[in-house]
């Protein structure tokens, strides 16, 4: 199957710094339609009927979320665009923001009409600082055209923390706090930024909205699978010939994405959804990609047969331990203990009880962690135990050879970079 570019339809065909170009290609027609011809309730009902779901990884119904915020009674409501794309292997939002900032602004303006927000923020990760200027200029151009009369948009830059992509941590960060996750409930649509009703949507989710308003819910829901409508934008990296950003209809297979489009050869496994993503063996390449199966934020890393799965999970765990916010014990301590175990396995100091310990710890973290980071930190661990158990067994049984191979200096330099 070829790519199906809806979210990315204008990427590459417009000058991303010229609002006139975007308008000439039909831009802002969805917003004008929503503003002049639709009531907030009909916007929400259209988005709900379309089956649009959150593209940041959680997959919650966008229309339902908006309805909750619409119904909440408060003097102010906020709209936040989550552009804190920090998932390992994710760079799709960077591509969108670089190539079609007006599409995002249009989606945000429609969302603002729907929920009744007067202030919106785009939370941009510090690593994408180079986009701050272009994005601010795009917002200014839209303001000059008179599109921002009902709601203003500000670009708010983060300061380097993966966890701030988690919605409650993101709100804490805007409030000037440590980016730690909050206890839920209450959920943001009723009690979010500064305690007021807040909607947080991913960049890609908002990009879909103008297309739904223009073409209708039926057009959108005709694409995809049962619970996953429309398309998904993926970023593919790792052991592939053509790393990049691809948009496919929901339900397309992993093979189409990783082999046909990205040119992977000699695959051993694929990790889908960043460091907390599933690790699937190459034998599962015909799995369709959707919320029902595997999707996450669309970050896909290909791993070829020369790679060592324990090294892959060790690297994931290093990231998760570093980025755990530290608020809840299962995640803060659990990722630390797991990192220690993977470190020992890598040094040839593994023990045959380690697999059982990893399994028990992963299951405990999955049910007891405060937010998605700690809950999903278990995923690559459990998947690697499920599909690549032999690699653990071999590693441990050959520990004494590994130790003599690594030796003194080599061993030290390995430690320095992990």
């Amino acid at each position: 199957m070829a790519e199906k570019r809806i979210v990315l339809s204008k990427c590459g065909s417009i000058d991303p710094q010229n609002i006139g170009d975007y308008i000439a290609k039909g831009g802002f027609s969805g917003f004008v339609k929503a503003r002049d011809k639709m009531k907030p309730d009909s916007i929400i009902s259209e988005v709900r009927k379309s089956g649009l779901t959150g593209r940041g990884g959680a997959g919650f119904s966008t229309g339902l979320k908006w309805e909750l915020a619409r119904r909440a009674k408060a003097k102010e409501k906020y709209l936040l665009c989550n552009a804190d794309e920090g998932e390992v292997g994710a760079f799709k939002d960077k591509y969108i923001l670089s190539n079609d900032p007006f599409g995002l602004i249009e989606g945000m303006l429609i969302a603002g009409l729907a929920i009744g927000a007067r202030q919106a923020f785009i939370y941009l990760r510090n690593e994408y600082h180079f986009l701050h200027g272009p994005l601010t200029s795009a917002v200014d151009q839209a303001r000059q055209k008179g599109y921002l009369k009902h709601m203003d948009i500000r670009v708010f830059e983060g300061a380097g923390a993966y966890i701030c992509g988690e919605e409650s941590a993101l709100m804490n960060s805007i409030e000037g706090r440590r980016g730690e996750s909050r206890y839920k409930p209450p959920y943001p649509p009723t009690c979010g930024l500064w305690g007021l009703p807040t909607i947080i949507n991913n960049v890609e989710t908002l990009m879909n909205v103008p297309h739904i308003i223009n073409n209708g819910a039926a057009w959108f829901s005709a694409m995809g699978t049962g619970r996953s409508k429309g398309t998904k934008v993926f970023s593919v990296s790792g052991d592939v010939g053509r790393p990049g950003v691809f948009e496919l209809e929901m339900g397309s297979t992993l093979r189409e994405l990783v082999v046909d489009l990205s040119g992977a050869e000699d695959l051993k496994a694929v990790q889908i959804g960043g460091a907390t993503g599933n690790i699937l063996p190459a034998s599962m390449l015909d799995t369709p990609l959707s919320h029902e199966t595997y999707l996450g934020s669309g970050a896909v890393v290909a791993i070829n047969s020369k790679r060592d799965i324990i090294d892959v999970v060790h690297n994931d765990m290093h990231f998760l331990n570093e980025e755990s916010c530290g608020k809840c014990t299962p995640c803060r301590e659990g990722t630390g203990v797991m990192l220690e175990i993977y470190g020992r396995l890598s040094r040839g100091e593994g023990h045959e009880n380690d697999m059982g310990a990893l399994d028990a710890l992963a299951r405990a973290m999955a049910v007891s962690s405060l937010c998605g980071l700690g809950q999903a930190a278990a995923v690559p661990v459990l998947d690697s135990l499920k599909y690549f158990y032999n690699e653990y067994v071999d590693r441990i049984s050959q520990s004494h050879f590994l130790r003599s191979y690594l030796g003194g200096e080599l061993f030290k330099s390995e430690e320095g970079i992990r």
Binding site: F91, A159, R178, V301, I417
Partner: protein, 146 residues
């Protein structure tokens, strides 16, 4: 570039804290006690709160940093494309290991989480600029340009 969002935050003095911390870093390179005390006063917060916020974020150094900060990505896509070689080259060129600053104060060297340049792996940032598809000779060139 950084604007305070104080005026639109209902009844909270601390809303402008993160932009103010970032602004200070862009002006003086890192956050010292004096700068943090000043911000604590402005936001009507105890100093330890400001310190707590600053130390949470990777891009807010609280100890003196080099004039240029090298941030090498160590996450999976870069790791698979031999980020170790990149780290090794920088160590060799500058004579420092990750976490250190050169004696002349020109460079700080850090290993960081995914910077979203996975299609150009291995990649690094120097200050705000991303450098991708790195090779050891390429790195030497880039460092010389500073």
């Amino acid at each position: 570039m950084v604007t305070s969002n104080k005026e639109i935050s209902p009844g909270s003095d601390r809303a402008g804290l993160l932009p103010a911390l970032k602004d200070t870093v862009s002006k003086i390179g890192s956050l010292d006690r004096e700068a943090m005390s000043g911000l604590a006063g402005q936001c009507r917060l105890p100093l330890n709160e400001v310190f707590g916020v600053a130390t949470f974020y990777a891009f807010l150094p609280v100890s003196p940093a080099g004039k240029n900060i090298i941030r090498v990505c160590r996450c999976l896509p870069c790791h698979l494309k031999d980020a170790q070689a990149v780290i090794g080259s920088i160590q060799k060129e500058l004579g420092i290991v990750p976490g250190e600053t050169t004696r002349d104060g020109k460079f700080s060297f850090e290993l960081v989480s995914c910077i979203g340049a996975c299609d150009q792996a291995p990649a690094m940032m120097i200050n705000d600029k991303v450098y991708g598809n790195l090779t050891p000779p390429g790195i030497a060139e880039i460092l010389k340009s500073f």
